[in-house]
């Protein structure tokens, strides 16, 4: 074997999804920039930023897994000299990379905004941003885990429905004055809500990953 099939499949997904990754980063950065222009700019930019993050994640998970199954290109990947388990593992890694790279860039850019000298009055919102971004990553982890386990499109739709409801509920609770007021300070403050939310998000991300890999390792039929 001249080259690792595992990494070739990972690179393939990054190549195929490169357009979505670039669009997510460009739209996300543009929306962050527009948030600097008054209340309207902040509102529009905020919505666009969240859309780029959330929709980008769901789209990448759906496109990466469901489209490949639907178009039956998965059969081509499985015809290559790689086991079904490693083929799935490559897909999981490429999914995390193709979403994780734009997510990391946007999260870093967004959080950096709170740390800039001009925003010193609301530096505490760094925690708010981190909790929000990790929640979005947790939603992505849940969706991709769900899509690995279910095979049908209606069942895949449930993941989108659950994540939409979950995200709406989370935004409602995150924007309660009791939650945000303690964070609108010049200092970074780890409130109990923020600590619990971060812990919960990390648990969801870890559990999603572990359960997906466990499920893959138990599969005997790969098609």
């Amino acid at each position: 074997m001249k080259s690792s099939v595992f990494w070739a499949l990972v690179r393939k997904d990054l190549y195929v999804l490169r357009g979505f990754m670039i669009i997510t980063v460009v739209v996300g950065l543009a929306s962050l920039f527009s948030m600097r222009f008054g209340r309207a700019g902040f509102a529009v930019g905020g919505i666009l930023f969240l859309t780029a993050n959330v929709a980008g994640g769901i789209f990448i998970a759906m496109y990466s897994l469901m489209t490949e199954r639907k178009e039956q290109s998965r059969l081509f990947a499985l015809s290559l000299p790689i086991s079904g388990y490693k083929c799935d593992l490559a897909k999981l890694l490429s999914g995390y990379l193709s979403y994780g790279i734009p997510w990391l860039i946007l999260t870093a850019a967004g959080l950096l905004g709170f740390l800039l000298p001009g925003n010193a009055a609301e530096r505490g919102m760094f925690v708010y941003g981190l909790v929000l971004q990790l929640f979005i990553l947790a939603v992505f982890s849940f969706v991709i885990a769900w899509l690995f386990i279910v095979k049908s499109e209606p069942m895949a739709g449930i993941a989108i429905m659950v994540s939409n409801i979950g995200f709406s509920l989370f935004m409602v609770s995150l924007n309660q004055p009791a939650v945000t007021r303690p964070l609108r300070t010049p200092q970074i403050t780890w409130t109990p809500f923020a600590s619990w939310a971060l812990a919960g998000e990390l648990i969801v991300i870890t559990l999603s990953l572990v359960l997906t890999i466990f499920y893959m390792s138990r599969q005997r039929d790969h098609i």
Binding site: V5, A8, Y15, S73, F76, P81, I82, S83, D221, I223
Partner: protein, 301 residues
């Protein structure tokens, strides 16, 4: 390929159950350097057999060896020397054929770029063409190009000609016959087009409803099967012949189908009072249909 491998593949006592289908006790072997045609109606178990062979699904019973490697345990190693193309397989829609060629070339040491370029011309497809813009036939040609140019020891083709026009089909079958000039290369070719199978295969296996109906070399199929027309005078009753697969009786004329034809059968029939008026060789399609009908009748009884 391991040094001790003398067969392209061997399935022994392989079973696999699904909700509405069961492949049962499948025994099938292909010597190196030969082409096997796996023939069966839709839903017979051809694709399941091939997926088992490729390690895509695991058997519930039995053992599978491909080029000397146990499958599915060592499927990844076996697949280094196996190319697989299926009617329901697609390439990555976001990339061009040229990208796929570079992708596959990096993975397979035996990739033959000159041959790939020749196939591009033969199949009349372009490397810069995106997969989304390709017709069904072009897509199949692209997959066949990727499979053939890696110079595999075993080529597994699941209904590869179904989307091809007659010219492309002719070209493909010619390419396949070229491949097995090298005696270490083998092909498993599944199809319900018996004309294609008859044209290129050395070995033929009939499969129906998850059961292997018959498997042998093409010549013995063709040599053993005959349709015999008989003149049966009134009052003559033909005995139950063990070699008869089917016997259709008219008022005076009868047609006997046998899968164990020998000239001595003429004497047996004439001793019974019947006169042999014609003996016809059967096409592979006719043999296939007769085999399947007999197998179904046996299962029902």
């Amino acid at each position: 390929m391991t040094d001790h491998a003398t067969q392209a593949f061997a399935l022994r006592g392989v079973s696999k159950a699904f909700r509405y289908f069961r492949l049962e006790n499948l025994n099938l072997e292909l010597p190196l350097g030969q082409i096997m045609g796996l023939v069966g109606p839709n839903g017979a178990g051809k694709s399941t057999t091939i997926r088992l062979l490729m390690g895509l699904i695991a058997p519930e019973a039995g053992s599978i060896e491909v080029l000397g490697h146990r499958v599915p345990e060592q499927a990844a190693v076996a697949k280094e020397r196996v190319a697989y193309v299926s009617d329901d397989m697609r390439l990555f829609s976001g990339a061009t054929l040229g990208w796929h060629m570079r992708f596959v070339a990096r993975l397979y040491p035996d990739w033959d770029e000159a041959y790939a370029q020749t196939l591009l011309k033969h199949f009349n497809i372009r490397a810069d063409q995106g997969m989304r813009g390709m017709s069904r036939g072009e897509h199949i040609k692209a997959m066949l190009l990727l499979a053939l140019a890696r110079r595999p020891r075993l080529l597994v083709l699941d209904e590869p000609t179904s989307g091809l026009d007659p010219v492309a089909r002719h070209e493909l079958l010619t390419e396949l016959m070229q491949i097995v000039r090298d005696e270490s290369r083998s092909i498993l070719f599944s199809s319900h087009n018996t004309l294609d199978v008859e044209r290129i295969c050395d070995q033929i296996a009939f499969i129906d409803r998850g059961h292997l109906v018959d498997a042998r070399d093409k010549e013995s199929f063709i040599e053993r099967w005959r349709r015999i027309s008989l003149d049966v005078p009134t009052g003559v009753t033909l005995p139950r012949l063990k070699d008869a697969v089917d016997l259709t009786l008219g008022e005076r004329l009868a047609t006997l189908t046998t899968d164990r034809y020998e000239p001595a059968l003429h004497g047996v029939l004439e001793q019974c009072g019947a006169r042999v008026t014609d003996v016809q060789r059967m096409s592979l399609e006719e043999i296939f249909v007769a085999s399947v009908m007999r197998s179904r009748a046996e299962v029902q009884s």
